[in-house]
Symmetry: C2
């Protein structure tokens, strides 16, 4: 039987608020066994860009990462967010070790090809992007890898990558040697049947039900890439995928995505 | 016989210039066997502070690290400098893995007590500050730890620490299980007998000779802490200490500090 491994992804809301972050750290400390944490960025990176006079460039809802923007988001995600998170987790007795994708060649990406849009220094993942030997080695040292969403191309170039994609790719890559549960954490308790009713958490969703929820417009546009990622992970061998509240990861109410 | 371990420290000049940094990376790749790299910060951190309207506060030549300054230097050292360096080293086939002192509890420090001066969020090291188990574990995975000079107090607080002090402390702590050579790299070829003659490298200095050089004012004020650190490391069991040019680490001209 494979050893269980929990891969968590947290994003903006919990990272922007010190109290929330401490609450998450305490809850995360209570998750038993090997675990990996992936984090996105919060509002802080946009504020820092603004304070430095770098106007955020968005195309189709995506940030264009020019060289100046890459510098700033690397500093913010890999420097500030990652190190503050690691220090907080260490204070909560979690043996956290922060990584960018460059560290130990943890995540190798390739710069997104220019088609209609040049996204700039944005990295896409492919099969073999995740250095599973490194992650297994760190887990065997009883460390908890904490990854930010900065990757590298192996030729010295850092790249900005979507954190949900990284979490899903890690879960899939590690599924060869662990029974992986992928946890997408956000500010709600799960996928809601009624966007205006926080109590309407759908406790269980199959791929067929997901198709129907999308067709009915129940799942909001912002949630679709997250759920697509999670279902893709299940198809690729991840044991379980969960959508849950970052501040309630030890509590029973959440959305569990099922293979069938 | 103990396995050799090389601990290198690089600082401002080489970090501020991309070409120099690539030259260093290529030279560092040629150093055989287990190795650890510690880096300071360059001019970039001061520029970033300036661009964000945070005036650098200096007392007796030391930067006072208030909360805003700590945020910025953490971003710069642990985010930008460390990750760019790691990505460059990876491109040079060095299996680099970047760390702050918080990562894996690599370096635990305590905030400097307030006496005449409140240095702010500055961390001092004590015996046991260096997590030798972590560093040995990473070296055993054939990784090359690359440490920035940001430490933590174990209670969630990041701290700014002198990079020379960190390199010396790592060399001393690892001397229990490795035959350690400590390399302080800077922009000159070694300690100069004549500050105006770059060719006047003193090839070998004993503690007695060092005392004389200090008394004669041959060693400049800026070099004294570096040499004090290096001789302290020798006293504490480090096999050899070297003062050399960051861009000529594979070449024979350098200053070797001797126990006697």
């Amino acid at each position: 039987m494979k050893t269980p491994l929990h891969v968590f992804k947290i994003g903006g809301h919990v990272l922007d608020d010190e109290t929330s972050l401490q609450q998450f750290a305490a809850a995360f400390a209570r998750v038993a066994g090997p675990k990996i944490l992936v984090h996105g960025g919060g509002k802080g990176a946009s504020e820092l860009l603004h304070n430095l006079g770098i106007a955020p460039q968005m195309v189709q809802g995506r940030r264009i990462t020019d060289a100046a923007t890459l510098d700033v988001v690397t500093m913010f995600y890999a420097g500030k967010t990652n190190k503050q998170l690691v220090a907080l987790l260490q204070a909560s007795s979690v043996p956290a070790l922060g990584l960018s994708g460059a560290d130990g060649n943890a995540i190798r990406a390739s710069r997104r090809p220019v088609r209609e849009v040049d996204y700039g220094f944005v990295g896409d993942l492919a099969a073999g992007s995740i250095n599973t030997d490194l992650l297994r080695g760190l887990l065997n040292m009883n460390l908890v890898p904490v990854l930010c969403a900065i990757t590298h191309d192996g030729a010295g170039q850092l790249l900005n990558t979507n954190a949900d994609t990284i979490a899903s790719a890690i879960a899939q890559a590690m599924a060869g040697s662990y029974a992986v549960t992928l946890h997408f954490c956000f500010e709600k308790d799960g996928v809601l049947a009624d966007a205006n009713d926080e109590q309407s958490v759908i406790r269980r969703i199959t791929p067929d039900e997901y198709a129907q929820l999308k067709a009915d417009g129940v799942v909001s546009a912002g949630m679709v890439p997250k759920l697509d990622n999670a279902f893709a992970a299940l198809t690729a061998g991840v044991e379980a995928a969960v959508i849950e509240n970052a501040l309630k990861i030890n509590e029973p109410i959440k959305t569990v995505l099922c293979r069938s």
